[in-house]
């Protein structure tokens, strides 16, 4: 059973075909990359996989569960979307606490652990409006990992991070892979993710192929 499986996905916006019969299989416990130029359709594919956007045709299975397009998100995903939004007037800690409270399955210690993992301890009481772009990105990663899901889908996860932070995040993702977690990382910049990934897909003009 694949962690993520997309079969013959198509998606068009008016006359423009963004995804054309795309298929993708992601095995458990591995890190996969999806690279492509701007406008190649990678973010649209990612949104379809997360259940944010319904696809026109095809089938998506997450952890073996057939996800009908647009019928909600599977509860097992850790998602980082480009330009992550938070409540600016609240601290990083309170933002995570609020989001964690919706599912109500984790304790404060687990939130703290997630903040520790992304290196935000010491800044967690600061209001998010005072966060740099990199700190907001770390917070987005913390919200994805805090509930300890098995599958992660992340769009440009290293966006805005400095050199050291990128190294730290790569180490974090690698260590999580060792624990059996699955990642699908999306980037327009192949060098960002290719060293980290077990396999890289390349998406171009709505079609997908395995990278060399």
């Amino acid at each position: 059973m694949y962690a993520i499986e997309a079969l013959n996905i198509s998606k068009s916006f008016r006359d423009q075909t963004v995804l054309d019969d795309v298929s993708l299989q992601v095995e458990k416990g591995k890190i996969y990359g999806l690279v492509g130029d701007n406008g190649s359709g990678k973010s649209v594919l990612l949104k379809c996989l997360c259940g944010i956007l319904p696809c026109d045709n095809g089938e998506i299975r997450i952890a073996g569960k057939n996800m009908k397009p647009g019928k909600g998100k599977p509860p097992v995903l850790g998602i980082v979307i480009e330009h992550p939004g938070f409540l600016d007037s609240m601290s990083g800690w309170h933002n995570l606490k609020y989001l964690a409270g919706i599912r109500g399955i984790i304790s404060d210690d687990q939130i703290k652990k997630a903040l520790e993992c992304v290196g935000l301890i010491g800044n967690e009481k600061k209001k998010v409006k005072k966060y740099s772009l990199g700190m907001r990105q770390r917070l987005a990663i913390a919200q994805a990992i805090m509930e300890d899901p098995d599958i992660y889908i992340m769009d440009e996860p290293f966006n805005g991070l400095d050199k050291h932070a990128v190294v730290d995040m790569r180490a974090l993702f690698s260590s999580m892979r060792e624990k059996g977690k699955t990642f699908l990382l999306v980037s327009h910049y192949a060098a960002d993710i290719e060293n980290l990934c077990d396999e890289v897909f390349e998406i171009n003009e709505g079609t997908i192929k395995k990278g060399e």
Partner: protein
């Protein structure tokens, strides 16, 4: 689990409202309005030495077309940010189903509607402090007005008739006013949520505003039968407690219409949210 999540979302949004500076600006605005309106009553009390029953006073004020507009537009102001998309709406929506998401909003609207009505009643009573008392009788001034005699100072400020004073005690009249007002606020909020999700925020603001001024327009221009479809008119005791007036809605009609339409709009909100296949993407692009 779903109920717990919906209640959690409702609670968080209520807390959020109390952290919004705009909320306190609205409170100040309403305080100024009531202070201005009640200054006449305070002056009258000082001149005559007659106090007005507090509950009867609030019920009479809630029955005026001017207050009804203020009440309605206040609802539009408070619910103008529906469907409550904050920066983290996407992360929020990925943690709960759409039914839970919309249920949280519906509960929030009900909570705020009751709270808002309570605040308006409290401001109305508090700003006339000194000119009112808490007895079980309507008192000389309200009885005089109810029997059709004009009191120049209170004209337009209060509306009362024997249909109300003869059938209800002041606290009963206030309770009815409060109930219909809270139901009306709930209905308007839910309608704005529905319009906001279906056609956008501008449509919600326009819809809410039109219904807020409809009562006043009927008062001046339109046939009285239209009161049946004006939610704010259904909060005015001077309209719904008048027997033998076929073109006026009755109290049972008002209660049934307000409760029924609130339930109907709630169901429509759930259906619209459920049928919207690009729901989360809309949140991401903040299209509402």
């Amino acid at each position: 689990m779903a109920v717990r999540r919906a209640l959690y979302l409702c609670r968080v949004h209520l807390k959020e409202l109390f952290r919004t500076p705009l909320f306190y600006a609205y409170l100040c605005l309403f305080y100024v309005y009531f202070h201005k309106m009640n200054s006449t009553t305070v002056l009258l009390q000082q001149e005559t030495g007659l106090k007005i029953n507090a509950w009867g006073y609030a019920a009479s004020m809630f029955s005026t077309p001017v207050y009804t507009i203020v009440f309605g537009l206040g609802i539009v102001l408070i619910f103008s940010d529906l469907p409550l998309f904050r920066g983290n709406a996407l992360f929020e929506s990925t943690r709960c189903s759409r039914n839970v998401w919309v249920s949280g909003r519906i509960l929030y609207i009900v909570g705020i509607a009751v709270f808002y009505t309570f605040v308006m009643a409290a401001l109305c009573i508090l700003t006339s402090h000194g000119a009112i008392n808490d007895t079980e009788k309507w008192g000389k001034l309200l009885n005089t007005m109810a029997n059709g005699y004009q009191i120049e100072e209170l004209e337009g400020l209060l509306e009362i008739s024997v249909n109300i004073t003869g059938r209800y005690t002041p606290i009963q009249a206030f309770g009815l006013s409060f109930l219909t007002s809270a139901l009306c606020a709930t209905f308007l909020g839910l309608l704005m949520l529905l319009l906001s999700m279906s056609f956008g925020r501008t449509a919600a603001l326009m819809g809410g505003s039109i219904l807020s001024v409809l009562d006043f327009v009927i008062y001046w221009k339109l046939p009285y039968e239209v009161y049946h479809v004006s939610p704010l008119s259904l909060t005015r005791l001077n309209i719904i407690c008048v027997p033998d007036m076929p073109y006026y809605p009755t109290l049972p009609y008002a209660l049934t219409a307000l409760i029924g339409s609130s339930i109907l709009v709630s169901v429509l909100c759930v259906v619209v949210t459920h049928m919207n296949r690009s729901f989360a993407d809309k949140i991401l692009r903040n299209q509402y």
